[in-house]
Amino acid sequence: MRFVFRRLGFFLLTLWVAVTLNFLIPRLMPGNAAVSMMARYKGRVSPDALHALEIAFGVNHHQSLVSAYFTYLWNIARLHLGISLTFFPDAVTHEVGQALPWTLGLIGVTTILAFVLGTFIGLLAAWRRGGLLDGVFPPIFIITSAFPYFWFALLAIWLFAIKLGWLPQSGGYDYTTDVGWSWGFAEDVVRHSILPAFTILVTSIGIWILTMRNNTISVLAEDYVRMARAKGLSPWRIMWTYAGRNAILPSLTGFAMSLGFVVGGAILVEYVFNYPGVGWMFLQSVENQDYALMQGLFLMITVAVLLAILAADGATAVLDPRTRDRR
């Protein structure tokens, strides 16, 4: 019980610090939202628009920092994240809500897939050290993990989308498809996600394989594994409940962190594939000095990462009794 309370208390404290930094940091940036917006129009609106924008965005409405801070806290408590200037006059919650499913669908699924596959391959490779699996997969995927992502993604687009024409090269779905809950649309979405998912998987799986393989190897040398073998337990059971359970612990925290960061999107993936996710929205919010959107996204990431760490702490405690509180 004490363990749970301590963890929760720590969670709340971190959340407060993060929320406060989230408020302060964007305000340290130089500039003005109306001017940033003019930059985005690239001289395609009249200079008179600057004045109109300043009025619409309330740029010259100065509020004291302290009172702005309390308004901000109160708004967060009510989940009022404000109006995005990039997507004026849409609410931040609405815009993020539209982009988030794409990010969760693509980045979330591939992150989990990379972890599960990578861990499994790493475990098997270590179990049959020097075997065929160990000789092929770890080296290949360690090399692919070192690829610069955008380079590999562009190469994949060139090969599979342009040269061979098997898969669409960009977007979340084909624009001539009618959006809705239909098989045609679902098929189209899946088709559009294959290439980005494949590139993410190939470039991110190596780290999980390597971590899991190395951990398993050191765990396999432990006395309790030798003990289990001596007792004549089935190799399958030793691999999973003795070696695997212990070897996965260090990977787990890393996995929790990367799960938390899923909601931040993946800017490079979204940029290269013109994929409608959150990462690109993040970049836009910074470029346009869109405080409301920036804060909304930061808040979401902070909460997600903290929750993921909390969950990982819990999972570690379940898997490894040593980490629980001593009385």
């Binding site: 690239k42 609106v45 109109a52 006059p89 836009q284």
Partner: protein, 549 residues
């Protein structure tokens, strides 16, 4: 090992067959109707708002759904076509403008359009300054309607604002907008306009427009559907153009001959020049305020080379008068244009005559300060970065040292607008239907501001009462010969005072495919600005398009 390879091969084959199968299934949706797909990297996903008074969404509704009173063609020096107005006239020493409103026009919800809608639109803008994207109420005194006539009374003579009022202001329906709570934050998700198209569906990734069957111009439009996908980056947008998936492009394509033209004989492009890309010189800088330094710089830059190497030849070299050619060639005094040409020897002579001394390859002021400046630039514009690099090399050759600073767009804009720079490589002045508009943006002292305060467009902070008088005088006349005389004098001021140094001419990015569509804007028939982001021009282009054959 062999078995593993075999398994891997099988998996790969299976996956590819599956993917190929999916591919053929989705290609069966053949188009029986005439469609146009626009490929224009706007760097944003769609909000599905269509408020025509919101700078972000006006290019998505104004021209197709909403329409102006008249259309002025910027590529023909503002040649005017009546649109929702059937006639207009100036009176009272060019201080009163009267429009006759067209009859028989209907909103897409079936209600008739009238002069009351025009009156309502302008009064709504007056009541909400945040809607006034074109500054019309900076010159207007009042608007009134009588029968089918709408009369605009001006505070001062401001003839060039005809363009802002008649071409740049979308007319909205009183019966829709009068019940809108706050028109500034109104999203307008299902816009009701008078235009040739209606917005039929929208998602963050694509907008679909359908033909308005009851459009007031009989027999138009000839195309049924327009798709406007959202591209957040350039490459996918260019790729769709090259593959023919999109027919109308509006962006920069590096090496366009190999990447686009060679892909199909139906692919074409035309980049009409509309404004200048210039070096803005901060006139409040103690050394740069000396006109000799600026003149020397103007002579030292080989604009032809910058155009060819930095801009792939897409943007032609500019001239010191600031009058864009060939678009506004009829306004240009060729003698003035030839006064400043590439001549490094002359640049050095000017600096020497002004008392500067060369020391270690760099000129110094009589007080011993080096002619060494930083030039800010947008790091994300690869062509500008290359051009600025060339400019720096050329200036170095005459003893002026330039350090290029490639900034983020936000920092760059902020520094430029507030005057916290020495030199700014810049092509962000909005073009107009005559050279006057850009010259006013650059030269008019009312567009300037003290250092540290945001200046709308006179970023170099030029101020000359004689020039201000000329600009005001232009606003009071509708006589073409008087206007040409004034432009000549403004161009002379550009050459004499060198407040900015035009380097290349910014263009409208425009690529088009003639496989199944005809009626595109061409150099021979420039009936509107051809970039899809230009409004209301893009609506005019869509009205001219028709199925081929």
């Amino acid at each position: 090992m062999r078995r593993l390879v075999a398994v891997a091969l099988l998996v790969a084959l299976g996956a590819s067959a599956w993917a190929a199968g999916l591919g053929s299934a989705s290609e069966k949706r053949a188009a029986a109707t005439t469609t146009v797909t626009i490929s224009n990297e706007q760097g944003t996903t769609w909000t599905c708002g269509f408020n025509p008074f919101n700078g972000g969404t006006v290019p998505l509704s104004f021209g197709t759904v909403y329409e102006p009173l008249t259309f002025s063609d910027p590529l023909k020096s503002g040649a005017t076509t009546n649109w929702l107005a059937s006639a207009y006239a100036w009176s009272n020493h060019n201080r009163t403008l009267t429009f006759t409103i067209r009859s028989g026009v209907k909103w897409t919800d079936g209600k008739p359009f009238s002069a009351k809608d025009v009156l309502f639109t302008f009064n709504m803008i007056k009541a909400n300054p945040a809607l006034d994207l074109n500054g019309v109420w900076s010159v207007l005194k009042s608007v009134s309607a009588n029968g089918n006539k709408v009369t605009f009374a001006f505070k001062t003579s401001a003839v060039p604002y005809f363009y802002n009022i008649a071409d740049k202001t979308p007319i909205v329906a009183q019966h829709v907008w009068s019940s809108v709570g706050n028109p500034v934050t109104y999203k307008d998700s299902s816009p009701i306009g008078t235009g040739a198209f209606t917005m039929s569906s929208c998602s963050p990734q694509v907008i679909k427009y359908q033909k308005n069957p009851a459009y007031w111009q009989k027999g138009l439009p000839k195309i049924d559907t327009v798709y406007y996908p959202a591209y957040t980056s350039n490459d996918p947008a260019n790729q769709d153009l090259a593959s023919g998936k999109a027919q109308w492009g509006s962006q920069f394509i590096p090496n366009i001959n190999a990447f686009y033209l060679s892909k199909s004989k139906d692919n074409h492009y035309w980049f009409p020049p509309v404004a200048n890309v210039s070096i803005f010189v901060n006139l409040k800088d103690p050394i740069l305020s000396n006109v000799a330094v600026r003149r020397a710089m103007a002579y030292a830059i080989d604009k032809r080379r910058v155009s060819q190497i930095g801009e792939y030849g897409y943007e032609p070299p500019a001239n010191q008068t600031g009058i864009v050619t060939p678009t506004f060639a009829s306004w240009l005094n060729p003698k003035l244009a030839k006064q400043v040409t590439y001549n490094p020897a002359k640049a050095i002579a000017i600096l020497k005559a002004a008392g500067f001394k060369m020391k270690g390859g760099v000129f110094q002021t009589p007080q011993g300060k080096s002619l060494s400046f930083t030039m800010i630039n947008i790091g994300g514009y690869s062509d500008w970065v290359a051009s600025a690099q060339l400019v720096a090399q050329q200036l170095k050759a005459v003893g002026i040292k330039i350090t290029a600073e490639n900034l983020s767009q936000t920092t760059y804009n902020n520094d430029t607008y507030t005057g916290k720079y020495q030199l700014s490589y810049n092509g962000n002045e909005p073009p107009g239907p005559a050279p006057y508009y850009e010259l006013r943006e650059i030269l008019y002292s009312k567009n300037s501001a003290p250092i540290g305060t945001i200046a709308p467009s006179n970023w170099e902070r030029y101020s000359n009462p004689a020039v201000d008088t000329l600009i005001d005088a232009y606003g009071a006349t509708t006589s073409a010969s008087v206007q040409h005389g004034i432009i000549d004098k403004l161009a002379a001021a550009m050459v004499r005072d060198v407040p900015v140094i035009p380097v290349t001419e910014g263009v409208d990015w425009y690529q088009y495919n003639t496989k199944s569509l005809a009626g595109w804007v061409t150099q021979q028939n420039p009936y509107a600005r051809p970039a899809a982001y230009e409004n209301p021009d893009w609506g005019v282009v869509l009205l001219h398009l028709k199925p081929k054959g």
